[in-house]
Subunit: 119 residues, 2 copies
DNA sequence: TACTCATATCGATCCTCATCAATTTACTTC
DNA sequence: GAAGTAAATTGATGAGGATCGATATGAGTA
């Protein structure tokens, strides 16, 4: 006894209707891959600081030249991190003249929080 | 004009008291490293599915033999992923006899959600 | 048109990580 | 104690990622 590995193969059509109403099935492989992309974007200290610095800025947006110095990283590296955050849907990029301004996508952080609690 | 990179160096002691009360400073390097550890644990599709499967289990806990098959991974790999989730403070491990039972740490997911929104 | 500056992209390097096969550890049972 | 089983650990390998120097793009300016 102990590990009932084979028991769950007997009632495949019942496990969604017989249990507590709050029970939700595990996420799918595709869903997991999708969420992992977002968490990968957050899984770097410098990218977390980028998000935090952009959010803390009083104007709500920062250009790359404002972000290179506090991170102590080269400009190509910062640009690379920013691109990952944009592709993850966390930052918005707007080019005005020579400068590129980055700002938090409204509601993005709350949406990510929902990805965590909704596992 | 455009990028005001040097302006913020003039009032270093004021930026915490002159602005909106909701403004909080950017997180520190150490804080970012700490949070990145948690997000690194979430930045893998198989680990996300592990968390979801453990959470979806009606008993609230699962042993390794219940987790190897749905992930289609070898037993050492699943054990490795589980260890990372335990070290991140997301899963709790309890050994009973030959089996090791893993369960969600109560409140851990909500705490992680706070790490996201609190950036 | 030529020059400057901000940003993005490219290529290379180093390091981390996901995975597996093999082995070890630990508990149970005969 | 010997055999069997669950889980963890080890060592190796291949893929992905973080970083940098060099270069390209593109807008503003003389």
């Amino acid at each position: 006894m102990g590990c009932m590995n084979t028991a769950q193969t007997l009632e495949p059509a019942l496990d969604a209707s017989c249990c507590l109403p709050s029970e939700q099935p595990a996420i799918s492989v595709e869903d997991a891959q999708q969420r992992a992309l977002v968490f990968k974007a957050l899984a770097d200290p410098n990218r977390l600081r980028l998000l935090s610095i952009v959010k803390a800025g009083e104007s709500g947006e920062s250009c790359v030249c404002d972000l290179t110095e506090p991170l102590d990283l080269g400009q190509p590296t910062v640009s690379h991190h920013l691109k990952i955050l944009v592709e993850a849907g966390l930052l918005h990029r707007e080019k005005r003249g020579t400068w590129a301004y980055y700002s938090l996508v409204p509601g993005a952080l709350d949406k990510v929080a929902g990805l965590v609690t909704g596992l």
